[in-house]
């Protein structure tokens, strides 16, 4: 069969079309890692706590969202039909408002702030077959994460203390994330190849994801920092 094909090619001569036989793309490595930078905004659902007379977040900060910035590192533990990842994510978020005068409730010159340091320990699945086998530059993924969020309420730059109780703590919870990544490789395959050769970055992508975070802190009633929010960012796969 091969000899016949060769004879056909030789007989076709120089003016005819030559069929190029391209080797299949190399399989994706079974392990690797992802680095992501992300940002977003969210409003903690402080008012969801049972028994609250009013929402203190709205009282101090109004309807404004907290600005979030952070990063995530994921280890690709399994990579065959899609990829399973396990990782760690850390971020920072803050919001400032005016402390209120106790006498009148009017805003004072003193600044009050809520600062949170969200940590996530995600396990996820990326259905990257869409890109690696089908060439569709969209990769959907889901993650489930253990959440640990340090929080600190300050007034005048110091942790606020009320009746001897410090306004800081650690909340535990879980989170579910669904996202979609757009593979930037599709915009310039040659550049993507060069990037892989020169730096080891196999793929780069931008992504958008929706986060459903619940922080029941093991059933203990307290400050609720649960939220439903979007994050956006840039990711690199090594």
């Amino acid at each position: 069969m091969t000899a016949a094909a060769l004879l056909l090619l030789l007989a076709a001569g120089p003016n005819n079309t030559v069929v190029q036989l391209r080797p299949p793309p190399p399989p994706e490595p079974s392990v690797g890692y992802l680095i992501e930078l992300k940002m977003g905004t969210f409003i903690p659902r402080v008012g969801d706590e049972k028994g609250l007379l009013y929402n203190p977040y709205e009282t101090i900060f109004g309807n404004r969202s907290m600005l979030y910035g952070g990063g995530e590192f994921d280890f690709i533990a399994w990579h065959r039909y899609g990829a399973v990842i396990v990782g760690f994510s850390a971020g920072y978020s803050e919001i400032y408002g005016s402390a209120l005068l106790q006498s009148s409730g009017a805003p004072s010159s003193e600044k009050a702030a809520l600062i949170v340091f969200p940590l996530r320990f995600p396990v996820g699945y990326r259905f990257d077959v869409t890109w690696s086998r089908w060439g569709i530059p969209l990769v959907p993924y889901v993650k489930f994460a253990l959440l640990a969020t340090f929080w600190n309420a300050t007034k005048g730059g110091r942790t606020e203390v009320v009746n001897g109780q410090s306004g800081n703590g650690l909340k535990w919870g879980w989170g579910a994330t669904a996202g979609l990544a757009f593979m930037l490789d599709v915009l310039s395959p040659q550049m993507a190849k060069d990037l892989s050769t020169d730096t080891g970055i196999r793929h780069s992508y931008i992504f958008a994801e929706y986060n459903y975070d619940q922080m029941p802190s093991f059933g203990k009633v307290g400050l609720t920092l649960s939220s439903r929010w979007f994050t956006f960012g840039l990711g690199l796969e090594f």
Binding site: V46, I60, A99, S108, L114, K155, Q165, G167, V221
Partner: protein, 305 residues
């Protein structure tokens, strides 16, 4: 065979090297680290100052005169001590040394009060910022025996007597919960190095305030907090600037402020009936357990790799 241009260039280089081989250096004795400007205020008017000198490449064979050291109030040192009023008055000679016997030594000790500039201004009580230079010079033969003498001088030290107070600081008060934040500015006076803040409960009638003085803060810190105040009480605050030698400005215009109780997010949360008690104890024993479990998980995954 070298060209004439090369010969001229070589001769120039050799002469330049010969000229730069002679030098005089001056240092203040006892200043650590070494400084080239010594500043004193009113409290240091009678301080003793001593200068050490060292020469390089000067000796009996090329020195035409003795080395002279003096303190001058003049704009420039010149080549020898001046006596004319145009020189800022009679310069203070602090030593004459023969380079035939020594290449380094100590000049005579002098008091800041004896410097020509301070004497001319009326002594220690003068309100001024006076800078006097320590000068030295010697005549020597740059081109060897038989050549004409030129003058080598050094004037790298300044002694400053400063009794002029800096400008009063600008001040702005922010009353807060149980405290007042004092915002300070140097009033465009770059000599200010420290601030001093005083506060007192506003006295009734025309009584004088009973001031409490806070520790000095550097002028790079433009905000100071007065803590532990009683909400609802009127406090009066004033501030001073201090310069490098401790001269204190006139007080800033006094201002009053009343600290008032405020609620931040945490106080509002508790006021709304929030159940959280704060602190990290809320995590309980779950923290180490979960972190340990995560550690085991990561280790297992890593082994698979």
């Amino acid at each position: 065979m070298p060209s004439p241009h090369r010969v001229v260039l070589l001769a120039g280089l050799l002469l330049g090297a010969a000229a730069s081989a002679q030098a005089i250096s001056l240092n203040f004795v006892g200043s650590s680290p070494q400084v080239t400007t010594l500043a004193r205020g009113p409290a240091g008017c009678n301080d003793q100052v001593r200068v050490a000198w060292t020469t390089t490449g000067l000796n009996a064979s090329n020195a035409c005169t003795s080395l002279q050291l003096w303190v001058t109030n003049s704009q420039s040192c010149g080549t020898q001590p001046g006596t004319a009023s145009s020189d800022g008055g009679t310069d203070l000679i602090i030593g004459t040394f023969s380079l035939a016997t020594q290449a380094s030594g100590l000049a005579n000790t002098f008091r800041v009060a004896d410097m020509p500039g301070v004497v001319a201004a009326g002594g220690c009580s003068a309100i001024a910022d006076i800078q006097n230079a320590v000068c030295s010079s010697v005549d020597f033969r740059a081109a060897g025996i038989g050549s004409t003498c030129g003058t080598l001088s050094a004037a790298n030290l300044i002694v400053r007597y400063d009794t002029a107070p800096p400008a009063s600081p600008t001040m702005f008060l922010l009353p807060q919960d149980s405290r007042i934040v004092v915002r300070l500015g140097n009033n465009d006076d770059n000599n200010v190095v420290n601030y001093l803040v005083q506060y007192a409960v506003e006295p009734p009638g025309g009584d004088l305030p009973s001031w409490t003085t806070l520790p000095q803060i550097p002028a790079t810190v433009t905000s100071q907090s007065i803590d532990g105040l009683i909400n609802g009480t009127t406090y009066v605050v004033q501030a001073f600037s201090l310069d490098e030698v401790g001269n204190q400005s006139a007080p800033s215009p006094q201002q009053t402020a009343v600290p008032q109780a405020t609620n931040g997010f945490w106080a509002e949360y508790k006021a709304a009936g929030g159940h959280d008690t704060g602190g990290c104890s809320s995590s309980g024993a779950a923290v180490p357990s979960v972190i340990s479990a995560l550690g085991v998980l990561v280790a297992l995954l890593w082994r698979r790799r």
